[in-house]
């Protein structure tokens, strides 16, 4: 089955053609990040305006690259939620129009399911699967006993991980997007600053990152008042250490408690090199658990992952 998938929930306009949930025939991503960089974040009106301009072009490009025509497509998939309403609508309207014109079913996909299923392109799932979903808007631990079966066992009580990277990058004035910048700086520094590793009690799978944000702000203010120089790389390393320690500890504890056979990491922060390293080291200590990350091009928003999730959604419903 060939699915044409559309993703326009936030920064990216992307269209992919995916066969049987596994083979990516094309995955065209039209990044809007250059436009946003100068604003230090996503600007919704601009986001949706550009999606409208780009979407027809991106759909054609995806078909060209896959060397097929729209008639050979079996179903259409689109990100339905969550996301910026204006941006989402551009994708949904495009999908519905194509569906109506060419008489094809439209599958509405949850963006988070897409991020999780990006991992299926790397490896089949060995259930139970534990997914660590880490992005700009989400921080969740999701237990999957089977395909399309999602149980959220923990979530952030305040800021999401990616959000906290962006905000700390803004406080330290090192630019946007904060994730990759801080990851790079952290590799050059040492965790010399004491920052809170917030675990919320030994049984909790929830996360809290707003206290860490406040601690970084306090630290910067204090140093400034004392006229002391901030070592930005060391601060990045200390911050990253606090975040990754918490993510890793909870993921590993949940893996043991629920007997997960596979850990998958999903969402934009899955591209973080420090996270990949610390989790791999922790998983190496466990017996019989595999760890997968999406390849870098499928960590950030893309339509291929939506095509994979749609394939399983369609299969499970039947």
């Amino acid at each position: 089955m060939k699915i044409l998938a559309i993703e326009s929930s936030c920064d990216e306009t992307s269209v992919a053609i995916v066969e049987d949930g596994k083979k990516v025939l094309s995955n065209v991503v039209f990044t809007q990040i250059d436009i946003h960089t100068k604003f230090g974040g996503v600007v919704p009106e601009i986001a949706s305006r550009h999606h409208i301009e780009k979407i027809t072009y991106v759909i054609e490009e995806a078909l060209n690259e896959a060397k097929i025509t729209i008639d050979e497509i079996d179903k259409i998939a689109v990100t339905a939620f969550p996301g910026l309403v204006g941006s989402l609508m551009v994708g949904i309207n495009a999908a519905k129009t194509i569906g109506l014109c060419y008489n094809k079913e439209v599958i509405m996909v949850d963006h988070i399911h897409g991020h999780i299923y990006a991992n299926y392109l790397e490896s089949d799932f060995k259930f139970p699967v534990l997914a660590l979903v880490v992005s700009g808007g989400h921080t969740e631990l999701v237990l999957m006993k089977d395909h399309m079966n999602f149980e959220v066992i923990g979530e952030t009580l305040d800021d999401a991980v990616g959000e906290s990277y962006d905000k700390v990058a803004r406080v330290v004035k090192v630019g946007y997007p904060g994730g990759p910048i801080i990851d790079k700086m952290a590799a050059l520094g040492e965790p010399t600053y004491a920052l809170p590793h917030v675990k919320l009690g030994k049984d909790s799978y929830n996360f809290s990152f707003s206290g860490l944000k406040s601690a970084v702000i306090n630290l910067c203010n204090k140093l400034e008042m004392k006229g002391e120089e901030l070592n930005a790389n060391n601060l990045a390393a200390s911050f990253q250490d606090a975040v990754l320690d918490v993510l890793c500890e909870k993921t590993i504890r949940a893996t043991k408690e629920f007997g997960a056979k596979q850990i998958i990491v999903a969402g934009g922060v899955a591209a973080n090199k420090g996270l990949r390293k610390i989790l791999q080291e922790a998983v190496d200590e466990l017996d019989d658990v595999i760890l997968t990350f999406p390849s870098f091009k499928y960590c950030t928003d893309n339509a291929a992952m939506i095509g994979v999730a749609a394939y399983f959604q369609d299969k499970v419903v039947k």
Partner: protein, 155 residues
Amino acid sequence: MDKLNLIIKTEDQMIHLGELIGSICYPKIVFAMNGNLGAGKTTLTKGLGKALGIKRTINSPTFTIMKVYEGTMPLYHLDVYRIENSDSDFELEEYFDLDGVSVVEWADNISDLLPNNTIYLHFTINEVGNRLVEITSTDKEFMEKLESIVGEYLC
């Protein structure tokens, strides 16, 4: 313009202040919150949600711009941190007309879209980490009610 100055010393007090504010909310009320990163805007919203009987976790809407929660009245939790200059074509102001409570973090970024009787909350962090919350509004009735219940936090 009526004005109240409050001092909030802990996170729990901030949640409590949110609960007090939530207890006197009415449909279509709009709260515009401004103040630095980490000043307590989301924390206060958690308390407000509690007063509206919302059970779900209220977390930061910075990335998604808007989250809706069902309570005794719907809560529209907006965060326009990432919107730096508002062309009004995103239609955020539509939420202000719905029969719920709207809370907008970083509201200065869309100040031109806010209705007349908006309740403004300005947060600052002082040298010792206490939060100063300055509340202003032309809604006299609301401000009087509020003054009568937040006595413990007045400064």
